[in-house]
C-alpha cells in the first residue's frame, strides 16, 4: 500500500510542478542555511581528543603582580592562562601527573639542509616536550616522538607535520634527514600523519581554527638556541625584565608558556589541584605568589569554554538560522495547504469510494516525505556550496571546519524529512477533514 501512496505522491507532485518546486526549494534553502551555520558550529565544538578530554588539564597559577591584577573577566579578577618559565620547569621536573608537557612558540626561517638558502621560508615552530604527542594522541606516519633525554639535553631533533614533510621532502620518508631551523641543523626523527584537532585547544584562541604549526622541536633546544621571544606569540610581564636577554626572561615573572597535564582519571583532579596549591604556598613562602591564590586546573571542555573558542554570537547565529528554517517551513506549510486544498475533489472522490481519513493522511504524508527528501538532498548540495564559499571567504580558517561529516549529512536529511513532515501535519489534518459530499462536483 505504501508503494501505491508514493506512486500517487509522485503523480501529484508532477501535476503541479511549480508548486512542488516552490515547496522543495523553500525547504532546501532553509535546510542549507541552517546546516551551513550548524556545520561550522558543530565542527568548532567537537571534542578534539575524544576519550581523554576529561583527563587533560591546563594549569593556571596566581603568580601575577601583587599590586595590579592581571586582568578582569566578567567583572572579576582573573589569572594568566600562561605560566612562567621557572614554574613550568619546576612542575615539569616534579612530574606529579601521569604525563605533563610545556608548550611554547617561536617563528624563524627554515629549509631542508639540502635546499639552497633561497628556499628558506618563515616558519612557525612549536617547541614542546616529547609527552605532547602521546598526551594528544598525535598519529605518526614515520618515526616517533623524540626521547626524554632529547628533551633534557635539548637535542636538535625535529618532528614534521605531513604537510611540512611534503613541502621539504616531497612527502618521502625523511627520517634522519636534516633541516636548518634558525640557522641550527635539526635531524628529523618523526613525521606526523594527518592531524587536525578541532578546535586546537592547547594554545591561544587565535590559533584554535587555523592551520596547525607544522614543526615540533624540544622545548629545551629552543631555550638553548637563545632565540628571542619577541618574534612570535604573547609574553606578559610584570617586574623588571630585559626582553632581549632570554636568561632575564627565564628568571622573571613573565608568563608565556602553556602547561598541560594528563591524569589517569578525572577523579584525580582534586589531588592534582591540591598539589598545585601546595606548590604555590611554597613559592609564596619564598616571596612569590603574593596575590590571593586563585590557582586552577581546567579540563579541555572547560578551557575551550573559558577561552571563548566558540564565541557566543556563534550560538546566536544557530538560533537565527533555526528561525529562518522555521520561516521557510511555515512558507512551505502554506504552499502545502494550497496544494492539498486544490486536491479537495480527489479527496472527496477517494473518501466516497471507501478511503478512510487514515488512508488520506498516509497518501499526503508520503507526499510531504518526498518533498522533505528532495528538499534535504538539494539543501545538502546547497549547503556544500555554501560551505565552499564560506571556506573561500574565511580562507585563514581550517578547511575541515567547513566540511560535513557523515553524521551531519544524515542529520541534514533527517531534519529535512522530519521538519517537512511535522509542518505538513496541519495541512494533512485539514485535507482529512474535507467533506466528500461538498467536493464531489468539482473534480
Amino acid at each position: 500500500m505504501l508503494r501505491y501512496y508514493f506512486k500517487l505522491a509522485f503523480i501529484s507532485l508532477k501535476k503541479t510542478p511549480l508548486l512542488s518546486f516552490l515547496m522543495i526549494a523553500t525547504i532546501a534553502i532553509g535546510i542549507a542555511a541552517t546546516m551551513v551555520t550548524y556545520t561550522v558550529h558543530y565542527m568548532m565544538t567537537q571534542d578534539p581528543v575524544p576519550g581523554k578530554s576529561d583527563r587533560l588539564f591546563t594549569v593556571h597559577l596566581s603568580s601575577w603582580d601583587p599590586n595590579v591584577s592581571y586582568k578582569l573577566k566578567d567583572g572579576k579578577e582573573d589569572i594568566p592562562i600562561f605560566m612562567t618559565y621557572q614554574d613550568a620547569t619546576n612542575l615539569y621536573a616534579d612530574k606529579k601527573a601521569d604525563k605533563q608537557t610545556i608548550i611554547s612558540f617561536h617563528k624563524t626561517m627554515m629549509r631542508a639542509a639540502e635546499q639552497p638558502s633561497g628556499m628558506a621560508t618563515m616558519t612557525y615552530l612549536r617547541p614542546t616536550t616529547h609527552e605532547f604527542f602521546s598526551m594528544l594522541d598525535v598519529p605518526f606516519l614515520f618515526g616517533s616522538p623524540w626521547s626524554a633525554s632529547d628533551d633534557s639535553q635539548g637535542n636538535p631533533v625535529v618532528v614534521l607535520s605531513k604537510k611540512k614533510n611534503q613541502q621539504l621532502f616531497r612527502g618521502e620518508n625523511s627520517l634522519g634527514k636534516e633541516v636548518l631551523i634558525g640557522g641550527v641543523l635539526y635531524r628529523v626523527v618523526g613525521v606526523l600523519d594527518e592531524w587536525t584537532p578541532l578546535p586546537r585547544f592547547y594554545t591561544t584562541r587565535s590559533e584554535a581554527f587555523r592551520e596547525p604549526r607544522g614543526v615540533f622541536i624540544p622545548f629545551q633546544s629552543s631555550i638553548q638556541n637563545n632565540w628571542s621571544l619577541s618574534t612570535d606569540g604573547s609574553v606578559y610581564c610584570w617586574g623588571e625584565v630585559d626582553f632581549v636577554d632570554l636568561e632575564s626572561v627565564k628568571a622573571s615573572e613573565c608568563v608565556w608558556l602553556f602547561y598541560w597535564v594528563e591524569l589517569s582519571s578525572a577523579e584525580q583532579r582534586e589531588d592534582y589541584l591540591a598539589y598545585i596549591n601546595r606548590y604555590a604556598q611554597e613559592q609564596r613562602a619564598m616571596g612569590r605568589f603574593q596575590r590571593e591564590q586563585m590557582n586552577r586546573i581546567l579540563n579541555v571542555a572547560e578551557y575551550i569554554e573559558y577561552n571563548e573558542v566558540v564565541r557566543k554570537d556563534g550560538r546566536i547565529a544557530i538560533w537565527l538560522s533555526a528561525a529562518f528554517l522555521i520561516a521557510c517551513l511555515l512558507n512551505c506549510m502554506s504552499l502545502m495547504m494550497t496544494k492539498f486544498h486544490g486536491k479537495g475533489a480527489e479527496v472527496g472522490l477517494r473518501r466516497a469510494i471507501g478511503a478512510s481519513k487514515v488512508n488520506i493522511a498516509w497518501q499526503f504524508s508520503c507526499e510531504t516525505v518526498i518533498v522533505g527528501v528532495c528538499g534535504g538532498v538539494i539543501g545538502l548540495l546547497l549547503a556544500q556550496l555554501g560551505l565552499q564559499i564560506t571556506a573561500q571567504v574565511y580562507s585563514h580558517l581550517h578547511t575541515e571546519l567547513m566540511e560535513m561529516n557523515l553524521e551531519l549529512v544524515i542529520m541534514t536529511l533527517v531534519l529535512s524529512v522530519f521538519s517537512s513532515s511535522l509542518f505538513g501535519l496541519y495541512p494533512i489534518y485539514r485535507a482529512c477533514q474535507i467533506q466528500p459530499s461538498s467536493h464531489l462536483k468539482s473534480l
Binding site: 480527489e346 472522490l349 466516497a352 471507501g354 473534480l443
Partner: protein, 229 residues
C-alpha cells in the same frame, strides 16, 4: 436492502436553520431500480449523499443491509461505502493523471485484495463496460460516454450490492445517455440495486419505482411533467 425511517436533514448555520429534507420513511428492496426526480435544489443530492453515507442526517434511523449506520464510526462508514456501495457521478469524477486501469482499481486499493485479484476485478469491470482493450488510455483520450462507462466500471469493480447514480447521463448527449441507461439496466438485471437521481423523466420511467422530492418532501409515485426541471 435500504430502510430509512423518520430521516430528516437540517443545515444549521450561525443565523439560519434550513430544512433540506423533511422527515420521511423509505424502504428499497434488494435488486430494485429506483429513480429520484425533482426540481433543482429540492434535496435530491442531499438524499443521495445520506443514502451513500457521505453526509450525516439530523434525525431518524437508517439501516443498510440490516445494519444501523447511525452508530458507525467514520472509518466503519468508509469500509461500508467501499464494500457495499458504488458511486456514479454526473461529471464522471475520473482522476485525469491515472489511466483507466488505475482509475477503476482505486476502490480496490482500499481493500485487502491481492494484486492478482485486483487485476482480475478491474479487467472484468472494464470488460462489462466494453473498454477492456483501452485500459492503458487516459480519461481525456475518451468520449464523455466512454468516461462514464469507466466510472461505472469503477463502481462495479468492488461488486457492490447498491449503486448510487447522481444524474449519470447529465453530461452526455442522448445517444450516449441511452447507452449508459442500457448498461445500468443490465447491471440491475444482474441483481444490483440502483438508486438514480435524474432530471430526465423518460429515463426515470426505466426504473421500477420513482420517488419525487420537492421542497425537501419525499413522496412516492409518478410525478407530473411540470415538477421536473
Amino acid at each position: 436492502m435500504l430502510k430509512m425511517s423518520n430521516v430528516a436533514k437540517i443545515y444549521v448555520t450561525d443565523t439560519v436553520k434550513t430544512q433540506a429534507l423533511r422527515s420521511f420513511d423509505l424502504e428499497i428492496e434488494a435488486g430494485e431500480f429506483v429513480s429520484v426526480v425533482g426540481p433543482s435544489g429540492s434535496g435530491k443530492t442531499t438524499f443521495l449523499n445520506i443514502a451513500g453515507l457521505l453526509e450525516d442526517y439530523s434525525e431518524g434511523n437508517y439501516y443498510l443491509n440490516n445494519q444501523d449506520v447511525t452508530k458507525l464510526t467514520d472509518t466503519q462508514k468508509s469500509r461500508l461505502r467501499n464494500e457495499q456501495i458504488g458511486f456514479i457521478f454526473q461529471s464522471f469524477n475520473l482522476i485525469p493523471e491515472l489511466n483507466l486501469f488505475d482509475n477503476v482499481e482505486m476502490p480496490l486499493r482500499y481493500r485487502s485484495f491481492s494484486a492478482k485479484e485486483r487485476q482480475r476485478r478491474v479487467i472484468d469491470a472494464l470488460t462489462k463496460v466494453g473498454l477492456a482493450n483501452r485500459k492503458s488510455h487516459y480519461p481525456q483520450q475518451l468520449s464523455g460516454g466512454q468516461q462514464q462507462r469507466v466510472a461505472i466500471a469503477r463502481a462495479l469493480a468492488g461488486s457492490p450490492s447498491f449503486l448510487l447514480a447522481d444524474e449519470p447521463t447529465g453530461n452526455l448527449d442522448s445517444n450516449m445517455a441511452d447507452g449508459i441507461m442500457s448498461l445500468l439496466k443490465d447491471i440491475n438485471a444482474s441483481g444490483t440495486c440502483i438508486l438514480m437521481v435524474t432530471h430526465d423523466l423518460e429515463q426515470a420511467h426505466l426504473a421500477d419505482r420513482i420517488i419525487e422530492i420537492k421542497d425537501g418532501v419525499l413522496t412516492e409515485g409518478i410525478p407530473s411533467q411540470n415538477v421536473v426541471a
